[in-house]
Amino acid sequence: MSADQFLFLLVAALAAGALGSALGMAGGIFVVPVLTLFAGASFPVAVAVSLISVIACSCASAPRFLTAGLTNLRLAVVLEVATALGALAGILMIGLVHEQILYGIFAAVLLVSAIQMLAARRARAPLPQDRIGERLRLNSSYTESDGSAVVYTVSRVPLGLSFMFGAGLLSALLGIGSGVLKIPAMDAAMRLPLKVSSATANLTIGVTACGTAAAALLAGNLNLSLAVPIVLGSVAGSMLGARVLVRVAGPGLRIAFILVLLVLAIPMTMNALGMQLGGHS
């Protein structure tokens, strides 16, 4: 790989990680299109590299959320049962789903993410206590920076688990963190406070992706020349994103994010329709 290519991938991953982390995502949704459309990678190669990058973003962001007391560790591990099961189902489906269909699903995920971003996340009224949530001691609280305590209950755990199964499945097939399903699962279905939802979803990304990523590494299917710049760029971007980008860009960031998602959806849709864009190594 030339120095120019290395730099291009590093900068692209840095932008993906920064944009993603500023808006509560892992950035995999940008990494796969960048690799397939601009780096000549085949879909499975891009998925393997992207999975390592989303794990890296999750690990890099986790300390910030944990230190702030926003991550609900018990809820995370409960949800990981569903995401890990979904990922296992996704692994069993790899090879059975045609690449054009995967491009189609990816394009749909990009469009749904753009719509979600357009609608903006909003806090919803809490629901009555869930028996499962109570039995598993999932209800918790955190303290805001102004010192006020926010007590929350975890509702509709089975519905949340169903969404999380889908998130795991998508993660294994598409190499993404699956914020597209995790956000509705935690915000709308389980009615968690937005900060808790983002922090807990971030932690679950690593476990969701690590089985599939380990399989790719152990089977020798990980393209290291692509992985090194992508992962390093993603880590740097995810650490910069939340600290710098939000303050600098303000509401314009959301519009930029939507535009990038829509622009990337076009070539991914064309690939789904059999108009081969990008190389295949």
Binding site: I55, P63, C210, A216
Partner: protein
């Protein structure tokens, strides 16, 4: 600063251990990947490949190590439901890795 008011002291200790694991683990894995890039440019392809696999592997291991930390925490507290749930997640992740490798 925000703190989890209702979390037990034990859970807060677990949280601190996970923070340390993620911080130092991310740093170590990133250093290995920077090493891989430097070795590639220096023309040492096989050493670069070893560093790249080690760095990527370190990132993959971090979530699994986090689960093992949680397993040991719940085990010490004889929190049987969470001991079982965490063990199940570990089994599912390992099954995924083995299945994916064999397919």
């Amino acid at each position: 600063m925000t703190t989890t008011a209702s979390a037990s002291a034990g859970d807060r200790a677990l949280s601190r251990r996970i923070v340390a694991l993620m911080r130092w683990g991310t740093l170590a894995a990133s250093i290995l990947l920077v090493g891989a890039a430097v070795l590639t440019w220096a023309g040492m392809a096989s050493a670069a490949s070893v560093a790249g696999v080690a760095g990527s592997g370190a990132f993959i291991l971090l979530p699994l190590l986090r689960l093992l930390l949680m397993l040991s925490h719940f085990g010490r507290r004889t929190d049987r439901p969470y001991l079982g749930i965490t063990a199940l997640v570990i089994v599912l992740v390992l099954t995924s890795a083995i299945t994916g490798m064999l397919l």
